[in-house]
Amino acid sequence: MKKFSWRGLSIIIFICITAFYLAPMAIPNLPEWWAKHKLKLGLDLRGGMQILLEVDTSALSAADARGAVDQNIKIIRERIDQFGVAEPSIQKLGDNRIMVQLPGVSDFEAAENLIQQTAMLEFKVVAQSDEAKRVLDIIDSNISANLDKFPALAELDKLDKDIMADSDTLGISSPSSGVFSSLIRLGEMDYEVQYDSIRLMQDLVADSLFQQMVPAGWQISLERADSANPRADRVLHVLSSAVELSGNDLSRAKVEYGSSTSTDPRVANKPYVSIELKREGARKFERVTADNIGKRLAIVLDNVVYSAPNIQERIAGGRAQITGRFSSAEATELAIVLNTGNLIAPISPVSTSIIGATLGSDSIKSGSMAGLIGLGIVMLFMLVYYKVGGLLTDFTLVFNMGFILAMLIAFGGTLTLPGIAGMILTIGMAVDANVLIFERVREELDTGKTPRSAVDAGYNRAAITVWDSNLTTLIAAAVLFQFGTGPVRGFAVTLAIGIVGSMFCALVFLRSLFDTFVLTGSTKKLSI
């Protein structure tokens, strides 16, 4: 019976931990609590998107601001869950940033919209045609008087005047109407904005200076773009700014499909979102419809008009439809957004990364290929150069790779491309500790020591160096982890695991292998 040794125990623990975390990769059908430990691949390896969002809390008090970020995270998580993304990661970074990672998502535009949409749902009454004309005229003259505040419009105005100046007819030296109304034209039943002016108009509508030009009690909103026909003209609505109903009155939203026999071309055979209102909301809706028969009621989401149906009669029961030339995916997205409620404070992306799945899988292939080739050559070299010692080193080297992967799994880290590169480097650097020891043992052998005492002396001397050099690197890794962000941090974790693994392999594991297999009995010759 061999006597108990700490070294043996630590090796057993080491092997067990590694085996435990690596088992789910090799063995299918493990129990759930075990199988859930899996290696997570970074977005750069599996494709997907990452968005860093900033929450604009400038309009809120300090106390509300803190709550708003957390509340927004909750809403975003709910939306993503309903959208159906496997293993999303949503983290708070700093005070007002949110990092969203969506692995495997390929329809990134939809995902981005889904996350970002503030989803302020409002019902507003549409101005009647004479009112609308009056409002637009006032805006037109207000803007003409303050043209210097709107550089984009001033430029257009100058252009117009240049064109008119060439006119042969005397007396038309200036355009007949202001520059603002030249962007709008009266369509069949609504005001419309042509495709090439839409960008300008969108910017205007969002501009707070422009909003000051609109007479009190009214607002200007564009209708939603037709995704199937993006170059079509967009309808411009003049709305009463009073909010008749809001998202708070909503009980739930769901996607439905219009019957093919429906007389309304917007609904026939197309998806739409039907909403149910809460009890009070239903009452409000009843009152609004009763008061405004013959007018139109606009359903506005984030200041964009989705639809503006005519109110034909008083509607009780609290059901309404949002139609608007949706594709079924868009309708689903809208229903999710409405159901999860509106974001407390607006968010905007500060950085976005999208990685195509093809590039990701190519990277894994070439990365692991390079790793295997590098590993193979280094192992061959060690074998040739140090013989039995090299063989034992190769054994611990393979084990070290397994240990790094196992620890990455244990700490919930993700394997990224720089991570793979780091592991390949560890192959090269991990042998360093072994080289140090072997070279030292050879020196000791040269002085005429017996194999056992040469190994002892060599180990004792080299161990100091191994500790010193690895501790320095470990300190660097710790600092990088503490002060670094994102990718720098991930790199620090892989580096630290690699250092611990290679130190253990060289100082404990390899030594033990030596004692057990090489220094048996009275060995005369040491094969290193």
């Binding site: 990364s353 070299f381 390949i424 080289v435 070279e439 160096t465 990088l480």
Partner: protein
Amino acid sequence: MRFLTKTNIPFIRMRKIAYTISIIVILASLIGLFVRGLNWSIEFSSGVAAKVNLKAASASVEPVQIDDLRNVLKINGYPEAEIQHVGSVEDATFMIKIKSRQSEDGAATDTKTEIIDLINENFPEHVVGRDLNRDVIAEIYEVGPKVGGELRTNALMAIGISLIFMIIFIWFRFELIFGIMAIVALAHDVLIVIGVFALTGKEISVQIIAALLTIVGYSINDTIVIFDRVREDLKIRRKDPLEVIINDAINETLSRTIITALTTFIATLSLYLFGGQVLHDFALAMCIGVVVGTYSTIFVASSLIVDFTKLAHKEKKAAQKLSKRK
């Protein structure tokens, strides 16, 4: 098998030559840095970087020329777009970089979608039959002006602080002069690698930062092995001058230095040759780093210690003389 046994190369005596080489290379790096500047990737600056693959599904379609793509972007309001081939010409993979325009806040969001739309509209033959979001678009990065600068400052600060901690640790284990010279040697290595990137105009991306960090780790490790031997020999051979002890320590550890450099170089070289285009620049930085790091370990770090201790001794002697004269 053994090579480099019992060498006695006068490294310390060769230090003047080594200094000259180092100074010339560092000067070249500095000139590169100041004249050409660093080409920070989009993650560290701001704007949009898109890698697109326009290799058509059917072989009969004419491949996209880089000028076609440049023209399309130019006509549609991106005359400043930088376009490069990634990999071979047959791959038809392009990197499009558009730095964000300073004044417009949030303008970047539109840029990304617009580029995707432009490609979709202008190269229908090359996109048809392929999944736009999976295959055509390899990667897109879009970074707002605030974050890019932040990331850069954070990374540099982290590296700076870790260097300070390393000096303190080496000071604690050896002597202050050892710590400082080790860091000087590190700066030497990093500067040369950065210089190569500045001169070739290659991008400094997050991966390159990771490579620089690895070089720092590798080089300090290498240097400390020699320092350790110096410390050990100093205890045994108290009468020998420092210069001789250091030179012997370098020779005694030479076989280890070369073998470790060799295995690390093999690993990084296989990364360079087989690691694919994404890891190409990373592997290049590492290959240069390993070579430069090994060189600085053997020729620079220890030689500097010899020179500085000599300098310190002279001052001490001069001071003693001065005090005796009184």
